[in-house]
């Protein structure tokens, strides 16, 4: 990063001079990302919709990326900037690993992302914010961890589950009712699909599973064995079983009252 800023500063996000704008700049925005931990790892998932105002800009955008072998980042906010930020983040982790011969600690990776978001503050104030969710498996502590961010780069560790993006309010509500400490990996992946379904249910900017076009959420699992993205078949299987249940109970599983 320091090398880049010396040699090719034009490649760095956050170094650009922006012309003053009036009103809101129209650019595709990504929406809901959710994460949930389970004993042995963490699941990070995102819906597939990008919106531009009231228009659906893209139906099958990918918003969850592996950051390296043991972590992943999901992005909400301005899609173009966010994808660039992730690319640079991936590059930096890989570069560090090759030069130093060892991986950054999970904490170190989370801090690095924080700095990158902060450098985007100028853009964020013009309405082009990037708000990622970072999840990874901490090899030292031997558990999955989730970090959430705000537009100013403020970083906070989330316990159990977290969500970001426009549908996050609804997703968080769903997860709050469904989460428990002893989830298996399969239950955790089902939980995120339920949460994304609820987000899509109440937030117009979040896309639900699209059976007709075979577009399903991106679900990734990070454990001791590293990063794994669920295949198309696995994701469609999960989504279909959730959809099937929702045909009987449109509001999803009921939690106990007391």
């Amino acid at each position: 990063m320091d090398f880049l800023s010396e040699h090719q500063p034009e490649l760095l996000p956050g170094k650009r001079q922006l012309p003053p704008t009036q009103g809101v700049l129209e650019a595709p925005h990504g929406t809901t990302i959710v994460a949930v931990t389970f004993p042995g790892g963490v699941v990070l998932a995102g819906d597939r919709r990008a919106t531009m105002g009231n228009v659906i800009a893209q139906r099958d955008i990918e918003k969850v990326f592996p950051a390296d072998e043991y972590s992943a980042v999901g992005i909400a906010g301005t899609a173009g900037l966010a994808v660039e930020m992730v690319k640079l983040f991936q590059l930096e982790l890989e570069h560090f690993e090759k030069v130093e011969g060892a991986q950054l600690s999970l904490e170190g990776k989370a801090n690095r992302l924080s700095t990158m978001i902060r450098s985007n503050l100028g853009m964020a104030m013009q309405g082009l914010a990037v708000v990622p969710l970072f999840a990874g498996y901490d090899l030292d502590r031997e558990r999955g961890r989730i970090f959430s961010y705000d537009v100013t780069g403020g970083r906070s560790e989330e316990h159990n589950f977290a969500a970001t993006g426009s549908g996050s309010v609804f997703a968080r509500g769903a997860m709050k009712k469904l989460f428990r400490d002893d989830l298996t990996e399969e239950q955790a992946t089902t939980l995120v699909v339920q949460a994304l379904y609820d987000a899509a249910d109440d937030d117009s900017a979040t896309g639900g599973p699209d059976v007709a076009r075979r577009i399903y959420p991106i679900i990734t699992v990070i454990t001791e064995d590293g990063f794994r993205r669920l295949t198309e078949d696995e994701a469609s299987g999960l989504s279909r079983s959730v959809l099937q249940k929702r045909l009987e109970e449109p509001d999803g599983p009921k939690a106990a009252l007391l």
Binding site: Q8, L91, H95, G101
Partner: protein, 245 residues
Amino acid sequence: MSTPFYVSPQQAMADRAEYARKGIARGRSLVVLQYADGIVFVGENPSRALHKFSEIYDRIGFAAAGKYNEYENLRIGGVRYADLRGYTYDRDDVTARGLANVYAQTLGTIFSSAAEKPYEVELVVAEVGETPEGDQIYRLPHDGSIVDEHGSVAVGGNAEQIGSFLDQRHRDGMSLAEALRLAVQALSRDTNGSEREIPAERLEVAVLDRTRPQKRKFKRIVGRQLGRLLEAEGAGTEAETSEDE
């Protein structure tokens, strides 16, 4: 005022080459071999932390003999070059040929500049292809020339002898265990022709394995896996990816 001695350019260059060659010859040799599924790097290295081989990019590996601080400098330069290129364009646009060219330029400039001492290093840049025919191995001697190698290459102290030993015995399509054992055999030959034993702990081994599902094909072989490969008699040489990177 004393008149500086006249030294002919030929003599000056020969002296510098001699100096660099002697420096390189002090270090232990290392070999790079093609095998059926990729390229294997083998060298004698008592240190676990100071590597002679390392990853440059997805399909590109780096090996160096000579002075540590000098080749480490070149290695980091190479990683920067590759990462910057891959970020600016695309991961596919980083090639061993391009990297070898940059190294050749750097080494050549340093070698012929009178202000600096020549680098006492000899490098190997290797890229694993989709098929064995696509593999590329470049050897870069201290003076900035490039030699395009096939099959096997040795650099460092006893390189000539080891190189001819390997040339006679290396064939295409060897398994990893076969290639590894051949490499160890070659490395255990001393300058005076006698053989000595190199224990597995003193070996540094890395592969560029084209069968790896990840984009990054470079992998170090350490510990038990190395022991297994050295002991394996021919069959059953599938490298496991469960070991740490």
